[in-house]
């Protein structure tokens, strides 16, 4: 049983450790997924931000290009008006100024588109990024190509406050007129290109955004699945553990039941053993008594048979004597001679076997036998003390003698008993139980003697104690057994011959007398038990209700 429990234990342990690895790996995985997911979501945001910024930039560039186009148109218009006014002698100052502002604005916008810069939009200043996209750049380059040859003239013209150089004016006008459509077309083209590249970029970025979103969804799904799997696994582990725990609990319950059962069995066995110890000592007692009674009973029975027979002979002689007397009185003497012969014959027998005296002695012997039986019965009564109080002041010596008598059939053929009694050793005790102690010790002593030996019993008082020493010349007790002999169930007798309870009961009884029992033994030369009990039992507060069943354990005769 123990083995299986320990196996269960290791199994359980393995489970726990695997569970921890599952959970830690699960956490790591979870964190990885979470990081991945967050990264993706973050990247979507970043891309989004980038996208909107880009989109802003593109819009700004498109705006910038549009302003540039308008600036050109304005410059071209103002220049033509200036040209017309110049030749019609109309005031030209305002148109020239407008032209100058427009053409400078155009140039600045062109610069901004090339290298970036700030542009005032209403009150806000907008940062314009330089054009970097290849197609837009080439469109810008085309515009630049158209602009670059005219730039110097047109800017120079714009720099002069008034028109002084007609050639320059003419040249400028020619530039603008000649290039007007081309520049407008190039500007248009730039705007469209910028628009398109912006659209393309937006499309790309949207694709990236969608892919990232899909990816993040996939990661999320994977994480969810993974989580579900690990949760389910943990569930199954938990379920298995729960099952195991339940199983172990059941096992424990059955184990407990079994232990309880065993305990019950043990109790039963113990009470059976105590019962069999009782029966064994009772049987021993009965056998002892039977043997002791048997002998006197036997010879008394024989004697009665003898007396009966003798009585017959004597009665016959008496009858013959009567007839003879009658014969002599009545004078009927015919058969006198034969009668005399018969009487003589009977008398001879009566005298030969001394029938009269012998009958008397037979009766006397029978009386002895009956007295012996009576004595045995009295002793038996003394021994059991069924009709006496539990606690009583008694003569310990008498108790020992009655125990000796009960054990006589065992002791008689094994040992001579040497008594050394302190006269009138009266002590307060439970006499029936003390008798049991003496019987047990005397029987043990006799059984320890192999062939023939001596049992010495000595009683004396020592201060306020009565001391009883019971020694034998038997085989002795081995030192390793000596300290165990008072333990319950310790026995050196073969199985079935001793319950091992005798001396443990003795010990309990002496303990109950507030006394103690010691043993000394030398292997091969004998054993001495020394019992010491107080002459007077300490007074106990006697309760009116007895709730103590302890006597039942060892009170064999009670």
């Amino acid at each position: 049983m123990k083995k299986s429990v320990s196996q269960g234990g290791t199994h359980h342990h393995q489970n726990i450790s695997s569970q921890t690895t599952i959970s830690t790996s699960g956490y790591v995985e979870l964190i990885a997924y979470a990081v991945l997911f967050l990264t993706l979501v973050t990247s979507i945001f970043v891309v989004n931000i980038f996208l909107s910024r880009q989109s802003n930039e593109d819009a700004a560039q498109v705006y910038c290009a549009t302003r540039q186009q308008r600036a050109w148109q304005k410059a071209q218009k103002n220049l033509s008006q200036t040209h017309i006014a110049f030749y019609t002698q109309l005031p030209i100052d305002s148109t020239v100024r407008e032209y100058a502002a427009a053409i400078r604005g155009f140039d600045r916008l062109n610069d901004i588109l090339k290298v970036g810069g700030r542009l005032m939009l209403d009150e806000d200043s907008v940062q314009i990024a330089p054009v970097v996209e290849a197609q837009a750049l080439s469109a810008l380059q085309r515009l630049e190509n158209l602009w670059a040859p005219a730039r110097k003239d047109l800017l120079t013209l714009a720099a002069s406050a008034t028109v002084t150089d007609t050639a320059l004016l003419e040249r400028s006008l020619e530039h603008t007129v000649r290039r007007d459509d081309a520049i407008l077309d190039a500007s248009e083209n730039l705007i469209v290109t910028l628009q398109r590249t912006s659209n393309e970029r937006i499309g790309q970025l949207q694709t990236i955004q969608v892919v990232a979103l899909v990816l993040s969804l996939m990661v999320f799904a994977a994480m969810a699945i993974r989580l579900a799997v690990s949760l389910r696994r943990r569930d199954s582990v938990i379920r298995r553990n729960t099952e195991e725990i339940l199983q172990q609990r059941n096992q424990l319950a059955t184990e407990k039941e079994r232990v309880e059962h065993l305990l019950d069995d043990l109790k039963n066995t113990q009470s059976q053993l105590i019962q069999s110890e009782k029966m064994a000592s009772l049987g021993q007692m009965v056998a002892g008594i039977a043997h002791e009674v048997n002998t006197p009973l036997g010879f008394v029975m024989n004697n009665i048979s003898i007396v009966e027979r003798n009585h017959g002979i004597l009665a016959a002689a008496l009858a013959d004597y009567r007839s003879l007397d009658n014969m002599l009185r009545t004078g009927a003497l015919e058969s006198l001679e034969s009668m005399l012969e018969s009487i003589a014959e009977q008398m001879e027998r009566i005298e030969e076997f001394e029938l009269v005296a012998r009958t008397q002695s037979t009766l006397a012997e029978s009386t002895i036998g009956l007295e012996r039986i009576q004595e045995l019965i009295t002793n038996l009564k003394n021994f059991s003390r069924l009709d006496e109080a539990d606690v009583k002041s008694v003569n310990i010596n008498d108790n020992i003698d009655s125990a000796l008598m009960i054990a006589a059939n065992i002791v008689k053929y094994k040992a001579d008993v040497m008594k050394d009694y302190a006269p009138n050793l009266v002590a307060e005790c439970y006499p029936a139980q003390l008798n049991q102690v003496f019987l047990n010790l005397i029987t043990n002593a006799a059984q320890a003697i192999k062939e023939r030996g001596v049992i010495a019993i000595k009683t004396f008082t020592d201060q306020s104690d009565a001391v009883i020493k019971i020694s034998d010349t038997g085989s002795g007790i081995a030192p390793e057994n000596l300290k165990k002999i008072f333990e319950p169930f310790f026995t050196t007798k073969p199985v079935g011959q001793g319950t091992g309870l005798g001396l443990s009961i003795v010990y309990k009884i002496i303990e109950r007398h507030n006394g103690n029992i010691d043993v000394e033994s030398v292997v091969g030369s004998g054993t001495t038990f020394t019992i010491r009990i107080p002459l007077r039992q300490p007074r106990k507060d006697k309760s009116l209700i007895s709730g103590n069943g302890s006597t039942a354990i060892y009170n064999i005769h009670g």
């Binding site: 039977a290 002998t295 036997g298 010879f299 012997e365």
Partner: protein, 318 residues
């Protein structure tokens, strides 16, 4: 006046001795002794026909006394009288003292008188037949001396009843050289074997199925008086032993487990006993008791006897 027979009573209780003596002294010359040693002394000085001894006595127990009586005076009929006897001493008294009867105390005076009377008669018959044989003895002895070396030695028949075949095999592995062993598991098997040939020694269990082993063995004893019966069983019980002695006069009562050596010794002794019974049937106490007093030996139950006769018939037919 008729010379009274000498009998010897042994008990350590003088009052018991007095009463026994009182019962018997009109009819016998009663000697008494209060110890085994005193008894042996009396035995050496007087022709004791019956000795009745108590078992429990200090110094020398009854079974030991009877064992010595047997060797000093084999014809003396030995009776053990005991009150509270332990199994061990009963076994010893049966197996080493070969007692004629085992009596329980208290014993009824009538029973005692009958046993003593029977014992004396058996003793007388044995002695007279031995005397007669002694006259013819020299011739027999010569014949025997010549016959023995020439005739091939026939092995004595031994029958085991009521054991498992393996058990017998195990027990008798070493005995085959000296004995002719057969085994019967049931009573029927045993009867078949017993019908066919005379058996010297029977070793039997007492638990024989539906039949009481002792009853069955009584039937066997009737049929084959020369057979020496040994009980080998695992139930040792004082009452059973007493019955085995009193009703069957078993030679030995053994308890399982036994050893090969013990079995061999017992079988050898039993074979000698059986030969003795064949040569001197008067030595067979149970048979002699039956001759001198038919009532003294219980008759087997009719059903068993019938069964035996049936078996005999069948055998004759075939």
């Amino acid at each position: 006046m008729k010379r009274l027979s000498d009998i010897l009573l042994v008990d350590d209780e003088p009052l018991m001795l007095n009463s026994l003596k009182g019962l018997l002294e009109f009819d016998y010359k009663v000697h008494t002794a209060t110890s085994g040693f005193a008894a042996l002394e009396v035995l050496r000085q007087h022709p004791i026909k019956v000795v009745i001894s108590d078992e429990r006595m200090p110094e020398m127990p009854g079974h030991e006394l009877l064992r010595q009586v047997k060797s000093i005076s084999p014809n003396t009929i030995r009776v053990l009288l005991t009150g509270y006897a332990d199994l061990d001493s009963v076994m010893k008294s049966v197996n080493s003292g070969e007692v004629f009867r085992y009596l329980n105390k208290p014993c009824r005076p009538d029973t005692l008188r009958n046993i003593v009377s029977l014992g004396v008669q058996i003793y007388d018959r044995m002695s007279s037949l031995q005397k007669a044989a002694a006259v013819a003895a020299p011739q027999v002895a010569v014949n025997k001396n010549i016959a023995t070396p020439d005739t091939p030695k026939t092995l004595p028949d031994v029958l085991f009843i009521g054991y498992q075949a393996e058990e017998v095999l195990q027990l008798t592995a070493k005995l085959r050289d000296n004995f002719l062993i057969s085994a019967a598991h049931t009573i029927d098997d045993a009867m078949n074997i017993l019908m066919k040939k005379p058996i010297s020694v029977i070793v039997s269990e007492l638990q024989l199925g539906e039949y009481d082993g002792l009853d069955f063995l009584q039937v066997v004893r009737e049929e084959q008086p020369q057979a020496v019966i040994i009980v080998l069983t695992d139930t040792a019980d004082v009452k059973m032993i007493a019955r085995a002695v009193n009703e069957l006069q078993v030679f030995k009562y053994l308890t399982k487990p036994t050893s090969e050596a013990q079995i061999e010794q017992v079988l050898t002794d039993a074979t000698m006993k059986s030969e003795l019974y064949q040569q001197k049937p008067e030595m067979n106490l149970q048979q002699t008791a039956k001759i001198v007093d038919a009532k003294s030996v219980p008759t087997p139950s009719p059903s068993l006897r019938e069964q035996l006769q049936q078996a005999q018939k069948q055998l004759n037919k075939s």
